[in-house]
Symmetry: C2
Subunit: 215 residues, 2 copies
């Protein structure tokens, strides 16, 4: 039986072994003292806890460049996601296959959600279309939304929204780049607060990097 010790895993992941063990203890996945963790069992438990063993049908609304990129993205299938449908408001797109999946018109949105039992929706529309699309998704039964449109969506309680802003990561890089370049010019550090839509993750400080700026 192939096993790993918390020490090995911690070294590989660059974290503390005690924390790793404590986290594992949450899962109820018990290792064997004197031996370590059964690799196969551990992988299964973590996969299950993260939802990787389930099949999650998702719809992508807005099949522009970004929507098409998402439809083609290979990483989804291996994480338990299945693109149940592609939806676009442009009638000219209807029927045209993207990533092997025929695009359907927005008119059928509710029907598609219902028939496929979709609870997760991805919005890749222009900013102006995002909120109306969001409202229809929610009304049709979607309870989790991944928003790529540059708008803050408002949703009723019980619905999760995560916003992906492609420029934020760039901004973080630029922030560090600025510090690389100008250590001698300005000796001041700072921070700023940005309105958060709903529980965005932020990490602790790295040296004297402000708390709101992810490391």
């Amino acid at each position: 039986m192939p096993t790993v010790s918390s020490e090995e895993l911690a070294a590989a992941a660059g974290v503390n072994s005690a924390k790793l063990r404590k986290d594992f203890s949450y899962l109820g996945s018990y290792g064997t003292r004197g031996v370590g963790y059964d690799v196969e069992y551990l992988v299964y438990q973590i996969s299950r806890e993260l939802g990787l063993t389930q099949d999650w049908p998702v719809v992508i609304v807005g099949i522009g460049n970004l929507g098409a990129a998402l439809a083609n993205y290979g990483g989804f299938a291996s994480r338990g996601f299945r693109v149940a449908a592609l939806i676009d408001a442009d009638p000219a797109m209807a029927g045209k296959p993207v990533a092997g999946i025929p695009v359907q018109h927005t008119d059928d949105l509710e029907k598609i959600i219902d028939e496929n039992g979709v609870s997760i929706g991805v919005i890749a529309t222009p900013a102006g279309a995002a909120q109306p699309v969001c409202d229809r998704l929610v009304a049709a039964g979607v309870t989790s939304i991944l928003n790529f449109a540059p708008t803050v969506l408002s949703v009723p309680d019980g619905v999760d929204v995560r916003k992906v802003d492609l420029s934020i990561e760039l901004q973080i890089l630029a922030f560090h780049e600025q510090r690389k370049a100008g250590e001698e010019a300005e000796a001041q550090a700072g921070a700023a607060a940005a309105p958060a839509e709903r529980g965005n993750d932020d990490k602790g400080p790295d040296g004297d990097v402000p708390a709101v700026m992810p490391a």
Copy 2:
């Protein structure tokens, strides 16, 4: 002079006003006691600290769906980013305009970096091409890389890499979705693939989210 109090800002952002004031004090941007913060001055200070007042030329390598989506993304310009060049390995793409910018061939990568003084590169290539492209970018002088390819890049010290995995956000949504769905419906998941007879089939304390999963 239009002003805002830390209390107003904190309420709007959903954070604690004391923390906000403490963060602002890092900037050295002084508010006025009894009045609040001068909005215009505050905006400028934060913009400057975050690097928004600078002009950051970036190159995007790999003009597929995702690269094109990034090139078209409107949020960059307003954050101080300027797409200096689009680069692709496909000779058929060369000269073809995307988002108004003509695509250039990978052969000229070093020249483009050098002539435009680019220090930030975006990689939107297939996984296999990412590391070679990364190496060339670094060799040409790029010190910050935003990686959309599903690969872990290795870079020398002094170079920052941020990896964007489009499926991670979805996975976080699915994780929460799984918890919404209920704790009784997962009996079926255990029977199929589990390496059986491990006794303890129940998951741990059901109340809390494991520390390793972002909120």
